[in-house]
Symmetry: C2
DNA sequence: CAAGGTTATGTTAGCGCTATCATTCGCGGG
DNA sequence: CCCGCGAATGATAGCGCTAACATAACCTTG
């Protein structure tokens, strides 16, 4: 047998204190160690560095731990090792599927490596983001994933004062000191607008909601494309601070009608708006795309099924999450990631609505 | 002035060790205390029990902490106080909006009280749930929120061995020892089926997917209602393990047609299926509700906008999250919640599709 | 103005774990 | 057969914070 202390009397019997269990009633590492007849550090190793413990002893430790219902205390581990095995993830919204899919990518990358995500929702507000960053710094996260590049000054200070690596998702940063994974929203706006121009539409409207930086970048792409064609007209741009929804998209169709807009096509900054628009067109008997072409952005699941199906731009949301997490893992390992700025591109999807 | 030690020399100068900052390079409570010229515990109080510290001193502490970039270390706090201020939340899916809204309710309730949610996704698998429970127990959560009542034996053992309170969401438990907040899925299934019967449909089909306990409960409600009417027929029930999606709903319409089903109405266990079915009916020229009535469940946002609009049952998802979190807060405060089983009811929504 | 209470702050001793540096044992080479 | 070395395990000393119990100053009150 490998165990040296194995033939000691089963219970040393002379120990001064034997609380058996912690304050919380849960077994501790020391309890397991005592039961096995070894020291606590070996129990620690059996969990964290199994290759350092003789296989048979390790098995005995794990079995004993299991039978005692021992669960390592993450707080104590984090305190002693200065590694929280936690990554703070801040996204603007949870009701927007876009970010939920990104989260899934992050999870799938982090969990197998033993990291946990601490998820915060900023509601598109840099101020709320700052508050969340402050809160989450208490957890001494080993890494941080942020959405977008629009942060408060104080938030920037927090982050730069911090040793933990940070990766920005969705938008791409030009600053060579920052890390980012995403796609060019501006290019997305341009792609779609160019497509509409090619289809012969000349009075193309744009509906921007939420007015977050990504929406505005799409708007920029739209504007540039139209300016190049000499067709940009501010009166065909609607800017609304409301969150994106089917309802709002439907309402926009009503508004266009009410305002007697001359648009022959409308590019909505998000698919759910465009879907709402399609529903309302159907209801009001507006023929799409003949009377009015409708375009969206993000390729949400329903967009392939509406009548008519929706022309849109697919964004690599899941991949962005995965790659951002992978980049962070590299950084947390002290490695330099292959690229500090990763453009995952966009896929234009032409369907019936244009 | 309130500060007693305030007129000491600014730096005591004789202290034996002055690490200034922890291993991680971050300022610690002791650093702040030294700078202010007080003891660490007072800094602790300034943050956690501000009413115990003289207002002016408190302000000075907060200012100094801010200027030093001090952030409390949550791991140390959790270890010392045996309170993690963390609630583990397990949901089956993130892509299903139902649970995302529940999460929002949980967040809105917990955050203002200083608790953080640790979110885990079980993918509808009790085994994965068990794994997540094990993982999250390491964080010594002060409370646990679970979805449904379908847990593995080992998971039950973990939970019962635990002192932390647990609340089950979505389904209602009859066991008086357990706490639950939700609504009767069975009743939902019954409500809808009764409605369809009242509308005169006699050959009502049911499409069950995912086959999680909630879906099966709805199926039960459907079956009981039809059995009472003497109209239940197993051949009109489809059971598929796949996750719910628009695509699958559309495919089911194709399948019904291919199988020459005699259904005059189909009750889909989830709205996205029903939406897919509506889309496909429109595409294939099946008149809804004349040729075929379509019903859904959950009242997702798009259901009010499809053509025709979808008859469905609204579930109080957000409220379930809020109330479950509220119940947990009571329990964590050592209070007994007003009810151990909270039925938040359902809302039947009749629309055009039936 | 002493006894007792209240308020504001301090001292001490851990929480449960891991970094770090021993220590012990077995083994192969000179 | 001794030295050196690697493998397996242990002893010790914190990580940064807070519970629990002091202590000190002030405030009542009769």
């Amino acid at each position: 047998m490998t165990t040296r202390g194995g033939d000691r009397p089963a219970t040393p019997a002379v120990k001064t204190r034997k609380p058996r269990s912690s304050r919380t009633g849960r077994a501790t590492m020391a309890d397991v160690a005592e039961r096995v007849g070894i020291s606590a550090i070996t129990v620690s190793r059996a969990f964290k560095r199994p290759e350092l413990v003789a296989p048979e002893l390790r098995q005995r430790i794990l079995d004993t731990a299991q039978s005692m219902g021992y669960v390592p205390n993450q707080a104590a581990s984090a305190l002693a090792s200065a590694r929280s095995m936690t990554v703070a993830v801040l996204i603007p919204s949870m009701t927007n599927m876009v970010f939920v899919e990104t989260l899934a990518g992050i999870h799938d990358m982090l969990l197998p490596r033993g990291y946990r995500a601490l998820i915060g929702v900023t509601h598109y507000s840099p101020v709320e983001e700052e508050r969340l960053i402050r809160t989450y710094l208490q957890f001494q996260p080993d890494g941080i994933l942020l959405t977008g590049t629009d942060h408060t000054e104080i938030a920037r200070t927090y982050l730069s004062a911090l040793s933990s690596p940070t990766v920005h998702m969705m938008e791409l940063l030009d600053d060579p000191d920052s890390l980012s994974v995403g796609c060019s929203q501006e290019e997305g706006g341009r792609l779609m607008t160019t497509h509409l121009l090619e289809r012969g539409y000349r009075r193309i409207g744009f509906v921007a909601v939420q007015l977050d930086p990504r929406t505005l970048a799409r708007l920029d792409g739209y504007r540039h494309a139209l300016e190049e064609a000499g067709l940009y007209d501010e009166k065909r741009v609607w800017r609304l601070p409301d969150p994106s929804s089917i309802h709002l998209g439907a309402a926009m169709i009503d508004r266009l009608m009410a305002e007697n807009s001359d648009c022959d096509a409308v590019f909505f900054c998000n698919d759910d708006l465009a879907q709402g628009a399609l529903f309302q067109c159907q209801r009001r008997g507006i023929r799409v795309p003949d009377q009015l072409a409708v375009a969206g952005f993000n390729d949400l699941p329903a967009s392939a099924w509406t009548t008519p199906t929706l022309t849109t731009v697919a964004t690599p949301r899941y991949a962005i999450g995965r790659h951002a997490a992978a980049m962070l893992l590299d950084l947390m390992d002290g490695k330099e990631p292959p690229q500090r700025r990763l453009d995952l591109g966009l896929t234009f999807i032409a369907r019936e609505s244009t």
